[in-house]
Amino acid sequence: MILSSPTRTTAATVAPWVAVAAVVVLAALSLAVGVADVSLAQLFTDPDGQTLLLLSRWPRTAALVLAGAALAISGLIMQQLTRNRFVAPSTAGTVDAATLGVLVSLILFASAPVMGKVLISTAFALAGTAVFVILIQRVQFKDVVFVPLMGLLLGGVYRAIAEFFAYRENLTQSLGTWMNGDFSGVIQGRYETLWLAGAAAVVAYAFAHQFAAAGMGRDFATGIGVNVRRVTAIGLSIASFTTAVVVVTVGAIPFLGLIVPNLVTMAIGDNLRRALPVTALAGAALTLGCDTLARVLILPYEIPVGSIVGVLGAVVFAALVLRKGNRYVTA
């Protein structure tokens, strides 16, 4: 909250521009890279190139930006609302509950349209996250890392339930794809749902002040006329919906919602209104970068981007936990 040091203020003013530049450059790179040997200019001028652009390259790049930004923002909101830096969709059971939801929708309503799956998955994600929030409120905390630990293991329980049913229905493989984000299947007509996640991110921005107030604590928020219960419900709904959309369309990207907001607020401070857009851009940039890497590392094959972010995310997460003298607000 304190932005007194000059370096931080500089970082805060520069950061949005750096993030925008990074997204533009990485998006261009993402458009240019692919199995087909086409230059960036040809994509826009050559007729074949234009078809390729519209059908495959543009959808993929857009999907990456939307998913990355939306997940990062979900993480930031969840961290504010639970007042714990280590809470994110992947550490609060949200992803696992959303996955369970997709599985259930697939078993019970096999013919449901994408939107139906998203809604069922959202409902599960919301319920699963609510269980997490209720659990952590009931426990007296001595240790701030207990919260994500609880969330990770709760997620493990949801996953166990999902695995149990997936095995019965012979869907174990699908389970793997929802848990591990992969953009290789993204083409025109198969990613558009992600725009809804982008819309949710815009809604989140409108509520930024209220989230920030709720993050200051119940007494403070109530004092300035914010209904914490309602704001928390709205915030968690946005995060659950976003997670569900991403899981259904491309699969989860582990720890993205955890590390991006942490790195951003470390650089520019906790002012939520300012942090939100930078977090969104940084999330998009990280996803673009990792996906481009995923596509070129073992050409002509691809690695799921989830695996790359998973490795990176786990390392950064561990570093954040072990960081010396990190004092966080306990819930």
Binding site: L149, G156, Y167, P254, P304, G310
Partner: protein
Amino acid sequence: MSPHELTLEGTEAGKAPTRPGRSVGLVRRALPSTRTARVIASLSVLVVASLTVFLTWGVDGHWDYALPRRAEQAIALIVVGAAIAVSTVVFQTLTHNRILTPSIMGFDALYTLFATTLVFFLGANSVETMDPWIMFSSTTVLLLAGATTLYRWMIGDGSRGLYTLVLMGVIAGTLFGSIQSFMVRIMDPNEYDSLLDQLLPSFGALETDVLALAAVVMIAGVAVAFRFARTLDVLGLGRERAITLGVDYRRAVTWLLMLVAVLVAVATALVGPVTFLGLLVANLAYQVTRMHRHVITLTASILVAAVALVLGQALLQHVLHFNATLGSIINLVGGVYFIVLILKESRA
């Protein structure tokens, strides 16, 4: 499933002797051992019963075919159960915590990672022809080195909070998992997917190639654990007290962590990772024995694990008709149990 029956059995055995003997000192001193003997006896009977059920249920006439196959499976399950039970009890004593298991701390993920690494560097052809024994032994040796270094560093001087430690373990586990799937993809994606399926076994497909070796290693490991039982009792008092009572702490911890690593390797080589099994059996063993003495808790945990796995597998085959893996059911039950435990701990 079986754990419930076990708890019932345990409390039943426990209730009888607690009623008398509130006043007479002599009777009371005799009590713990009588009670313990009953608990162990009941558990042993349960193991025999489960084995009988497992070996004979639904064999219609084809004994010469069914029995050897089932016996092999039963042995594999018992080897796995004993290895997981003992490694968990030892690990929990070293970390002074009943909600930690080597699996939650990423031990078996590390095993899987090493197995994949071997494939990665040796290439597909060599693996197809490689003796499973060599595969098992080399992975175990790697795990020994890796796990002891890593977890000694993590346990460190005890200045890190317990929950930080567990969280680091969980993160390490996911990290190993991600690196492993990453490597699988970097290798020729078409070939290695199926290859690794063969390499990394599960309850559904017990890996019995290395059963004989695994059994020998397990028996040796369990024997070592029992030899250390009294030292473990003292270690249970805490590091400082153990040192002042004459335990060479660093040496003991190093040896015991190596033992844990070997036992985890045995279990993982046979059935792959099972996150919550150890947690379940170790805590059930503590509950039924109500003892701090490792000779007793180790024995009880092995018996509980054997019942859980053998009876669980039998029920799975004949009641659920194979429509789930034992691993997934154990993870389900154990996971819920874990949440209950952690809630209890955090309130205390």
